[in-house]
Symmetry: C2
Subunit: 150 residues, 2 copies
DNA sequence: GTAATTGCAAATCATTTGCTTCGTA
DNA sequence: TACGAAGCAAATGATTTGCAATTAC
């Protein structure tokens, strides 16, 4: 666990460093939020961030929304839809792109352990469609092993 | 164009038929909505449906929301909306699964003309994760040819 | 010091819900 | 006729915005 914590704090530092290099100011809220994202390692909604122990009642929702928007614009986090009403955010690690699988019954989200099959197609689609700077989002939905069948 | 209209009305009839066979009642609003989805052939939000010429001011938003929910539950339409705030809906044609590309600048949505590369993986992911009844959602994002570079 | 960030309050947008009325099977 | 669907109004939840007070660089 201590090695995990070390890895985590390195990740936090790297992310904060990236923010700085993109011209963002490094604030307390930013640090806490990035740390939370690293520690949980899962997509979090703004309301989950807000209600985390460190942030609860000490920061305003609007500030968190604005922060996440900034982080997304600078490519620090990725915004996911996950078919939920509220958007979720995950840290972007360099050269990593995770896909997720969501339980349509209980809502748990898990990372899909597979090489993303879509990335190689982006070039083809870009030239066929004329679109530039392609990205993609891939999500799977199903019923998780812990939920009863419908 | 007349041949297009013929194909369209056949599609509408088929979709309505499917609704009926699933136990839904065939109402005026359902007919108009399905016709609109067929005619435009693109994902539409509830507010786009509401503001269409035929439906505007004659039906209630809540009714459209409830209709779309029913249609989705019965597998008649597919709900999309990975990055937009409002969900969009497209008709599901049997054995067809379309993926879309969205312009992050102006918002246009186009169908991606490529065989979906993800479907074959669903079996693998299902057994690796333990999830059942897998589906997926794949969307591409980029800047369309008509938008200037950022 | 100055521009970016936050706090607070209010506005907006998407969606849902309760309850009554209507229309289809 | 009975039950699903629509109308209407109000509630909820997520996100955005304006403006004044703060704070990082």
């Amino acid at each position: 666990m201590s090695s995990e914590n070390k890895m985590d704090s390195r990740k936090v530092q790297q992310a904060v460093e990236r923010c700085k290099s993109k011209g963002l100011r490094c604030t307390k809220l930013m640090g806490l939020t990035i740390e939370l994202l690293v520690r949980t390692g899962k997509p979090l909604t703004v309301s989950e961030i807000i209600s985390s122990a460190e942030i609860a009642d000490r920061y305003d929702q609007a500030s968190v929304y604005r922060l996440m928007t900034r982080l997304e614009e600078k490519g620090i986090v990725r915004r996911l839809g996950l078919r939920e009403r509220a958007a979720s955010f995950v840290l972007r690690h360099l050269h990593e792109h995770d896909d997720y699988i969501v339980c349509t019954s209980c809502g748990v989200v898990e990372r899909v352990e597979i090489d993303c099959p879509v990335a190689p197609l982006e070039g083809i689609i870009a030239s066929a469609s004329g679109f530039r700077n392609l990205e993609h989002e891939l999500e799977f939905f199903g019923v998780c092993p812990r939920c009863p069948a419908a």
